[in-house]
Amino acid sequence: MFQSFRLAMAWVHTWFGLVLGFVLMAAFFFGALSVFDREIDRWAIPSTRFAPQPMPSFDAILRPAFESMQPTPEAIAEMRPRVDGPMPQRFDTVESWSAYTTHRDPVVALYAGFDVPNAKDPEEAIWAYRTIDPRDGAALPDDHLKIGSGFFYPMHYSLTLEWRSLGYWIVGLAALTMLAALVSGVVMHRKLFREFFTFRPDKAALRSVLDLHNLTGVVALPFHFFFAFTGLVIFAGIYFPVGHTQLHGLHDLHERLEADETGLPHERAGTPAALASVDAMVEEAQRRWAARGMAGDVGFLALTHVGDANGYVSVYRAGTDRIALTGEGIHFKAATGEVLREDPPPTAVGRVSEFLTGLHLQHFRHWLLRGLYVLGGLAGCACIATGFVFFVEKRKRQHAKQGTQGARVVDALAVTTITGMVLAALSILVANRLLPGDLPARGDWEQRVFWFAWLFALIHASWRSAPVARGERNPAWREQCWAIAALAVFAVLANWIGTGDALWRTFATYWPVAGVDMALLATAALATFAARRLKADAVVIATQGRTVAVPEAAHG
């Protein structure tokens, strides 16, 4: 149906790129922010602005915290449809306790999984979560939203749309589209090497926008490809749950074989047993890692079948100095502390799997690489954004003549997804500083502000988009740039006034917050530059009651 392979690829690139590009912008932008998610958490929750801490003592700090954890009423209500018979309000059979920390975490995340009696699925578990200060075990209030790791991060992989994993599927489709757009883009771009460094901002808008689109797409091509691909690989179990459906027989067979082989019991014994000193087990694990020449911190600590004779404790090394997230697991019998198993080195395929996952999730300590990741993410945003702008520029004069609204609609959506999305992100940060500290469900209110700000940006962009239907530029671009500049500066001021952490102080003493403030100021500067540039470009001449935009001639 297409005249040639190249034309077929061009069609896929244009139309799938356009439709899924809006989702991809969110994935790339919030993904870029997620590189420094924990630093954004520090900015959003001032009480956690202290230095990163190692995994604390289990016996002294973690155990009392775990023992007091129970699922929330909301979690219990959500579980009710999956239970036959009476719904307990307390859960006493603990399947697992786990704690995870990285070299960037001042606070520790705790997870407790409980057996659900009378559940329809015998493997069903109900979860409780808590964040604690590792220095004393004090719990962080539940409604202090971790704007970085608890909002921006899930935003980038699921648009926070949890209903039936719909958001995961949408982002997954967008990721597949990204891969298709990269391959089809390479097919379309005949002069990939010849035009590798080509960017001609002095030429007509269509040419210079396309140059920038090609530039940002090609120079970071490995990054764009690998992040889309590894994102899909990480969630492959959601998209293709073969092992839990069609081939669950093999999965269950493997679990039985593995339990026999590793000596780590799959089921509870049913007889209670005490818990030996976990701190002693952690010490032993660290001793063994050091003996292998791999001294390191504890990244992940997990207790399985808690309180049972079959219980075991697993200690994993944090992958701070490597791409893999955690590794070198050592498992101990919970009741006695004897070593049950040292995980063998990963297989070749296992190493590839660790590399691909760790490359994307980046829990390693390498500040340059993290910074370069943000650059890659922003390059991806620039690539998608210039794609939209090119689409509109190419068609708006033609649509103006025909009297159709297509270019106008795409332009309004583009403004919403580019400047509008930044405005929404800034709005949640500002709300975080302005809302009362003791407001119940504060995190929910912050999220509402985010969505309303984005909606407002859409309304503004649509309302102001009439000129596009005449073949001219939408003034909303410039107006939202000014709004970004103002909000970003306001956020920095609000942080200073609200917490007393002025930038010149945090610059020397607490770089996570200084970093966020500086990024906000840089955003304001960039937005100001863009707004002024957009104004210089469009000289409005009133001729016979009609306004005509004179682009590019009046370059500032």
């Binding site: 080509t198 120079v219 791409i323 370069l372 990741y373 650059l375």
Partner: protein, 104 residues
């Protein structure tokens, strides 16, 4: 500290290497010097460019183990390519400093 210095060196090597590769291309040589270069000069620049990128990779490998070093290098190449492209677009003449033996 030594690591930071070597990584900085790797970044510089990437930027300079990309600059040389760009200068070896005719349209960019014209942007920078106003004329095309003889083939021998272009080849020299291309060779220097490849050498610069290779030096950057070896510096990256000296700091981190291979899997991380390769990622750092690939991302540094992207940054260097962008910087080169923007320099060519707005202040092409600055790149003359990379090949001072060529007379404009």
């Amino acid at each position: 500290m030594a690591d930071a210095v070597m990584l900085l060196g790797a970044l510089i090597a990437c930027v300079v290497g990309m600059g040389w590769l760009a200068l070896a291309m005719e349209p960019h040589a014209r942007q920078v010097w106003g004329r095309a270069l003889p083939t021998s000069r272009s080849t020299l620049l291309r060779t220097l460019g490849a050498f610069g990128l290779a030096l950057a990779l070896s510096l990256c490998l000296a700091v981190d183990h291979a899997s991380m070093a390769v990622l750092v290098w690939i991302m540094a190449l992207a940054l260097a390519a962008l910087l080169t492209a923007f320099t060519l677009a707005w202040c092409a003449r600055w790149l003359r400093v990379l090949a001072p033996w060529i007379v404009p």
